[in-house]
Amino acid sequence: MPEQVVSYKCPACGAALRYTTTGKMGCISCGNSYEVETLEKLAQEEKAPKGFNWEAYREQLKGSEEKLRNTVTYICQSCGAAIETDGVTAATHCPYCDNEVIAMRQLTGGLRPNGVIPFAVTPEDAVKAVRAHFRKKPLLPRAFLSRHKLSKVKGIYVPFWLFNAGVHGDMSFDGTRVRCYSDNDYNYTETSHFLVNVAGRMRFCHVPVDGSVKMDDDLMDALEPFDYSGLKPFDPAYLSGFLADRFDEDPDKSFPRASDRMQAGAESLLRAEAGGGYATLTLKRSGMELDDPSVQYVLLPVYILNLEYEDKKYRFAVNGQTGKVVGELPVSKEMSRLYFGTAAAAAGALTTFLAYLLLR
C-alpha cells in the first residue's frame, strides 16, 4: 500500500518550495517566500504530533522492528511516480521530477524528532569550506583536488541522539610525593605513597551520538560541536530541499557510546581534583554510575561529499551549522618526502652549525 507523503507547494504559483538559510520557504519559480508556520497552517496537516519518547518507542518497537526496516514505496505528489526507498529515508527527491518528497510516516507519532537544527550553511559555502580545508593540507596530492568537482555536496539531516545523564562516582589513586636529600656519601630519594580518594557528581547534557548506521561514527563525532541553542522544535518544513533519514540505530544501542564519553569526562574532572601536590597519580579504582538518563531525538544538518581517488573512496562531512569540515584525506608520498626532507635538512643544518660553534 503506497504511503502518504508531504511536499510543500507555493500558494501563489504551485511550484515546489525549498527551505532557505533565511529560515523561510522560498519558491524557486515566483520567488515568494513564506514562514514555515504559515505554510503549516495552510497545509492543515495532521494534528500536533507527539515528540520522540524513549519508553514509548521501546513499546512501539516490540514486534515491529522488522517492519520498520523494510523498503517502503511512496507516491510523488508532483508527478505521481512510485518512489521506493529504504525503511529509514525521511526526505528525498523524486527521481523523475526532482520534487522534494518528505515521508511523513518516518517523522510522525513516536518517530517524530524532538528538534532540528536547520542548515545555516549554504551548499556553496560548504563547498568553499571544503576547498579551504583542502588548501590547509600540505600533504594532499595535487591531483586529488583537480580531478574532482566539489559541487556535488548533499545536504542531509542526520538523526542524532542527544543524551543527558547525571554521573556520580569515586576514584582511588596511588599518589606519590618525592623528596631528595643527601649526606656525606649518598644522595637519597624518598618516595612517599598516599592513598588518594576523591568522589563527586556532575551532569552532562546533549552528548551527541549519531543514530544512523550508514554514517561513520568517527566522522560524525568529529563534526562536533553543534550549537544547541539553535535547536528548533521539529517541523517537516525544515527538511524541504534536503535529504533526511530516520534513525536506524535505537537509543539503547547508542547509549553505551554516550555513557563511555560521560564516564571518561567525569574521570578526567575527578583526576584533576585529586592531582594537586602529587608528583604522580596512578589510578587504582574507578567506580562511576549514571543516573536519570534521558534522550532527545534530533536531526542535525550535515553536508556529505563522497570522492574517489586511486580506487579508494573518501567521505567528507561538513557541519551544516558551523561549516566545520572533517574527513580522512589521501597522503601524497611525494609531498611527504618533500616536507620530511625540508624539515630534516633545515633542522640538521642548524644543529650541525650549533654543534660546530659549541665544540670548535
Partner: protein, 599 residues
C-alpha cells in the same frame, strides 16, 4: 608568518621578563636551609622554618642551614660532618660563605653549632655559649615541640647576629682554647696572642704522649728521624697523643709544630705525622705548616694514607711511623739531590723556597724557548720551533715555552714544570708546555696571567696521541702549529672526529625533526574524534562530594655521591677521597694543611 613573528615575540618577551630571575643571589639556593632527615617536624612546619630562614639571609648577610638526622653512615665527628655538609651543599652567604650551621643528632642526643666565615669572627664565645645553652635548655623542656625548638633556636641566632652587627666584638683567634679545666701540654703558651713562628732548639723527633711505643721502638724511631732531618735539613716530627685537649686533631697537631718551633728555613716549614688516640676522635694525620703546605697537598697525603692505612688499622703503629718517615725521606731526597742547573743554589723543588717571588713584567726574547733536557729534538726541529715560539712570544707579549725532560723531581709533574718556569725567570704571562718522562712520556701545559684564558681549551690533550705513540718530537711540532692557530683564533682547530660528530648529531636531530613534522602533518589528514564529554558538562553541576588522602608507606633509594677525581692542580681544601680528608685553616699557632683518616 604571523605565527612565527608571534612566537619570536613571545620568546623575546619571556626572556626579558626572566632577566631579573638571572640576577645572581649572594647565596646558593639549590638546597633547602632546614633539612629534617629525622622527620621531627611536619612538612608544613619544615616549609615554614625554611621560609623563616630564607627571609633573614639577605638582611643579616648570613646563612642559617640546619641538619637534623637520626642516623648517618659516617664515622666522622659531628663537626667534620657539619663542615662537609655545609661545604657540599654550598651553604654560606657571600664570598666568605658566612653562616651558622645547626647539626642535631636526635638518636644520640648530640648537637653541634658551627660558625663559618664572618660568623666565626663576628659571634664571640659568650654569645655562642648562650646560643648553645638556650638550645639545650629547650631540648630538655618536654613541653617544647620540635618546631618550637627550631623556631626558638633561629630566633636566638637571628637576634645574636643582629646584636653582633650592631655591637661588633670580634673573637680573638689567638686566645688559648677552652680546655674544660684539663691542663694543656707544657709547650702550649699561656696566651697565643702575637705568636710568631720561631726555630726551636733540641726538639725531640718523636713525642709519644699516647705511650704506644716501647723504649726500643721509641729510640729507633727517634734515631731514624733525627738522622733524616739532619741530613735533609727539614722540619719533621712524629707525634702521638690520647687527648686533643678540646681541639680538633688538625689544630692540635699544627699547634704542636708552631708552638714547639719545628719550622725550618725562612719559611718555617714543618710536617708532623700525628696519631690521635683521643677516644673522641681517633685518627692519623699528616699535618704541614707554612711553606710545606703546598708540598703536602691532597695527592701526597692521600698516597701516605693509602700506604699506612692497613698498618694503623691493624694496630702496628710503629710500622706506620717508620713507613711515613721513609716516605718523607724519599720525597725530600728526590727534591734536593742532583737537581737541574736551573734550580738556584741551595733551593729545593716545588714551592719550598719560592716565597715572595715575583714575575718579570714582560717576556724576554733572549730566553730559551725550547729546553730539551731529554734530547728528543733534532737541531733543525729545535731551531724551527724556537723561531716560531720567539715570534709568537713577541707578537702576543707572553712567554711561550716548551720544556722536555727525562725525569721529574717533584711528586707531581706540573710542580716540576712550575719550578722550571719560575726559576728560569719567565714572564707573568705565558704558556709552558711540559713533556716529562716518568713511566713513559707525559704531557701537560701551564698557563699564566693573560694566557690563563687558554687553559680550558686543553691544547696539551690534543698532543696525547703523539705522546702515546712515543713521538715527543712530533708532539712539539704539532704543539707549535696548534699554538699558532690558538693564539690567532682564540680556539683550537676542530678535530675530524668532532666534525663527524657534529654531522652525525645534525643528521640525527634532522631525522627526528623531519619525522615529527611529518607525523604532525599526517595527523592533520585524519579524523580527530573528541574523547570524553567534558565540553557537555552542565554549568555548575560539578561538585566534589568527598576527598581524602592517607599516607601508605615510603621508600628511600640512595645513590653514591660522586667522589672528587684526581686533578693536576695543587692541593685543594675541604675535599675527601676514599676516607682521606684534607683541610687547611688556621689554628692558634698559624696556618696549616692536614690530611689523614679516622679509624
Amino acid at each position: 608568518m604571523k605565527r612565527v613573528f608571534s612566537c619570536a615575540f613571545a620568546v623575546l618577551l619571556v626572556c626579558l621578563l626572566c632577566l631579573p630571575a638571572f640576577a645572581e643571589p649572594s647565596f646558593d639556593t639549590s638546597y633547602t636551609r632546614f633539612n629534617d632527615y629525622a622527620q621531627s617536624v611536619t612538612e608544613d612546619e619544615e616549609s615554614e622554618l625554611n621560609k623563616k630562614v630564607e627571609a633573614q639571609i639577605e638582611s643579616l648577610r648570613m646563612d642559617f642551614p640546619a641538619c637534623v638526622f637520626l642516623e648517618r653512615n659516617s664515622t666522622t665527628t659531628l663537626s667534620e660532618f657539619g663542615a662537609d655538609f655545609y661545604t657540599r651543599n654550598k651553604f654560606g652567604y657571600g664570598e666568605e660563605k658566612s653562616g651558622v650551621l645547626l647539626v642535631l643528632d636526635l638518636k644520640n642526643a648530640k648537637v653541634k653549632i658551627l660558625y663559618f666565615g664572618e660568623a666565626d669572627t663576628l659571634i664571640g664565645e659568650p654569645t655562642r655559649d648562650a646560643i648553645t645553652d638556650s638550645f639545650l635548655a629547650d631540648c630538655r623542656d618536654d613541653d617544647v615541640s620540635y618546631f618550637e625548638l627550631y623556631s626558638h633556636y633561629y630566633d636566638t641566632v637571628f637576634a645574636a647576629v643582629e646584636e653582633a652587627r650592631t655591637n661588633p666584638t670580634t673573637t680573638d683567634p689567638n686566645a688559648s682554647p677552652q680546655t674544660d679545666g684539663k691542663p694543656m701540654p707544657a709547650w702550649y703558651p699561656e696566651n697565643t696572642e702575637g705568636f710568631t713562628d720561631f726555630h726551636g732548639e733540641d726538639l725531640p723527633p718523636v713525642v709519644d704522649d699516647a705511650h704506644i711505643f716501647t723504649e726500643e721502638q721509641f729510640r729507633e724511631l727517634s734515631d731514624k728521624i733525627s738522622a733524616m732531618t739532619k741530613r735533609l735539613g727539614i722540619g719533621y716530627a712524629a707525634f702521638t697523643s690520647d687527648d686533643n685537649h678540646g681541639l680538633t686533631p688538625e689544630e692540635y697537631s699544627s699547634d704542636f709544630l708552631h708552638f714547639n718551633g719545628y719550622g725550618v728555613g725562612d719559611g718555617y716549614g714543618a710536617v708532623v705525622f700525628y696519631l690521635s688516640l683521643d677516644p673522641e676522635d681517633r685518627c692519623w694525620l699528616t699535618t704541614s705548616i707554612n711553606t710545606y703546605e703546598t708540598l703536602f697537598n691532597f695527592d701526597v697525603t692521600y698516597e701516605i694514607d693509602e700506604m699506612v692505612d692497613s698498618s694503623i688499622r691493624g694496630g702496628d703503629y710503629y710500622e706506620a711511623f717508620l713507613m711515613h718517615a721513609d716516605y718523607v725521606d724519599a720525597l725530600f731526597s728526590n727534591m734536593s739531590e742532583n737537581l737541574p742547573d736551573w734550580y738556584p743554589e741551595g733551593t729545593r723543588t716545588y714551592a719550598l723556597d719560592r716565597q715572595g717571588r715575583t714575575f718579570a713584567p714582560s717576556p724576554d726574547a733572549s730566553k730559551p724557548r725550547v729546553t730539551d733536557g731529554a734530547g728528543m729534538l733534532s737541531a733543525q726541529q729545535m731551531q724551527l720551533c724556537t723561531q716560531t715560539l720567539q715570534t709568537l712570544s713577541r707578537q702576543y707579549g707572553m712567554d711561550l715555552v716548551v720544556f722536555i725532560d727525562s725525569s721529574c723531581r717533584t711528586p707531581k709533574l706540573y710542580q716540576y714544570a712550575e719550578d722550571f718556569y719560575y726559576y728560569n725567570g719567565y714572564a707573568a704571562d705565558g704558556i709552558c708546555l711540559y713533556i716529562v718522562n716518568r713511566d713513559g712520556f707525559q704531557v701537560g701545559a701551564l698557563y699564566y696571567g693573560k694566557a690563563e684564558r687558554y687553559g680550558t681549551l686543553g691544547i696539551d690533550r690534543k698532543l696525547s696521541n703523539s705522546i702515546k705513540n712515543g713521538e715527543p718530537a712530533s708532539a712539539v711540532e704539532e704543539y707549535v702549529e696548534l699554538l699558532t692557530f690558538m693564539l690567532q683564533h682564540d680556539r683550537l682547530p676542530m678535530s675530524w672526529a668532532k666534525r663527524v660528530f657534529c654531522v652525525v648529531v645534525g643528521l640525527f636531530v634532522g631525522w627526528i625533526v623531519g619525522k615529527t613534522v611529518l607525523k604532525r602533518l599526517k595527523k592533520r589528514m585524519t579524523i580527530d574524534s573528541p574523547i570524553g564529554a567534558k565540553s557537555y558538562l552542565l554549568d555548575g553541576s560539578f561538585c566534589v562530594t568527598g576527598r581524602s588522602s592517607s599516607f601508605l608507606y615510603s621508600t628511600v633509594t640512595k645513590t653514591a655521591r660522586p667522589k672528587p677525581t684526581e686533578s693536576g692542580s695543587s692541593g685543594s681544601s675541604g675535599s675527601s677521597r676514599g676516607g682521606s680528608s684534607y683541610s687547611s685553616g688556621r689554628s692558634a699557632g698559624g696556618s696549616y694543611s692536614s690530611g689523614g683518616r679516622r679509624f
